[in-house]
Amino acid sequence: MIEIYHLHKEYEQGVAALKDINLTIDRGEFVFIVGASGAGKSTLLKLIIREILPNKGSIKIFGRDIVRLKNREIPLLRRNIGMVFQDFRLLQDRNIFENVAFTLRVTGASTREIRKRVPLALSLVGLKEKAFKKPNELSGGEQQRVCVARAIVNRPSILLADEPTGNLDPGTSMEIMNLLHDINVRGATVIVATHAKDLVDHFQKRVVVLEYGSLVSDQERGVYINAR
């Protein structure tokens, strides 16, 4: 589903963020990308949703090299990839329902579809009762659940999460990770960039370790290797 070959990314200052990355992720997998800050985890996710372009290499998603996508094709790619952020990025002036509906609205979904799918997504993350509250009335964990609901409401086949538990306490972090696991069980490919060692070790999933931009380890049922 995602095939990455000889991927190389350098930022303007000449710093190599990723060096010769080769990685294949199959449909329905759950993958942790781990590494210290600056190891290249976020860069890798940004490349997958084509927020940035690599200097060398290719990224094939659904069999298509997304490096060669035309600008107008990018939205279509992103409708198939959900994104969860460390800082939630919710719209504070809208209620939870509207925040989740946002994904559907911008893709031109009908009101009927929105009324059907948003409650489904909200009940999946356990927030159906809080649909009409504003984000600032929710706890951090609940806000992250909204962010997850927004990412999955249009049923993307890939879900990317960039440090989804970075701003949360350990108990809440576990809940969010369980939620992402549930989503994976329901069929989505889930890729989580994190440096939460306890969680990674707990779930015993595939672990890809990045260090200074290089892929140093890739294990099925792995644990967090503190490389640095």
Partner: protein, 297 residues
């Protein structure tokens, strides 16, 4: 564009205008003030032009014929005037006609002229009224024909005509420079104001990009917002100009009679034709410029 999307764009634009209440009012205010100044200057400029044209129409050379010249010299003079390349109109005014005109001008006091009528008693002279093709050439032409045989003297209002032409030329130049400067300032201010409303919503735009909205889907609400703000900003000066100009015309007509003015209805039509598209255009331009920077995600 689908109807559903259109409704969504309009709704978003309206919501955004209300959400950014003060900012929206500021945008409308900027557009309104700029277009009001622009419109006012246009009106002054148009009227100065009209006045200048009017004055130009009236500018003429009066050539008085030397009384001692014989018939042959007179005919030769007329031939030279008629064939002069810079003269558009050559009209002979006999001294009888001149007397008639003087009587009309004097109106009730025409009786004072009694006794000066008739071939022998008329003290006035035969003359030619000349109009130059280009009004500004009047001085040069007058200087030239002054020396033709049979000419008594020429009168072309020297000392009045030249400064007047200089003055109206200057006013027109200042008006043009001012308007150009103002138009640039307007685009700048509007783009800046709308950029602020876009900046407030940069997070929303970023999320839209992440969840797969097309660039046009993101742009449209801002374009509607910009055009709506621009249009509202244009309607205000059109109204102010209409009522203000009407009052000004009334006052001027009652106090300074000789100044020709363009009728208010005509001006308003012109202003609507000019200011409405300009307001909408400025709003749209401001939106497009402002959104562009935030679409690069």
């Amino acid at each position: 564009m689908r109807v559903r999307s259109l409704c969504y764009f309009l709704e978003e634009a309206l919501k955004s205008i209300l959400r950014n209440g003060w900012m929206s009012i500021a945008s409308v205010g900027v557009v309104a003030i700029t277009l009001l100044i622009l419109g006012s200057f246009m009106i002054i400029s148009i009227n100065v032009n009209l006045f200048t044209e009017d004055v130009k129409e009236q500018v003429q050379i009066v050539l008085y014929i030397d009384e001692t010249a014989n018939e042959e010299t007179r005919l030769e003079l007329e031939r030279r005037l008629v064939s002069h390349p810079d003269l558009e109109e050559v009209r002979f005014v006999s001294k009888d006609e001149a007397m008639e005109r003087l009587k009309q001008k004097m109106g009730d006091q025409a009786y004072l002229l009694e006794g000066y009528e008739g071939e022998e008693d008329n003290p006035l002279r035969d003359s030619y009224e000349l109009r130059t093709t280009v009004p500004e050439d009047i001085t040069a032409v007058a200087q030239q024909i002054k020396n033709y045989p049979g000419v008594g003297y020429v009168d072309y209002g020297s000392g009045i005509v030249e400064p007047l032409f200089q003055f109206t030329g200057l006013i027109r130049l200042i008006g043009l420079a001012f308007m150009a400067g103002l138009a640039v300032t307007a685009v700048f201010l509007i783009a800046h104001t709308i950029r602020l409303t876009v900046y407030i919503r940069r997070k929303e735009i970023m999320i839209m990009k992440y969840v797969g909205a097309t660039d046009w889907f993101i742009r449209w609400p801002f374009i509607f917002e910009g055009s709506f703000l621009g249009m509202t900003g244009a309607i205000i000066p059109v109204l102010i100009i209409f009522y203000g100009y009407q009052a000004a015309v009334l006052w001027i007509q009652n106090n300074i009679h000789f100044i020709p003015l363009i009728p208010p209805q005509e001006i308003t039509t012109e202003m609507i034709k000019l200011l409405l598209p300009l307001g909408v255009g400025l709003g749209v331009l401001g939106s497009v410029i402002s959104v562009r920077r935030f679409l690069k995600v």
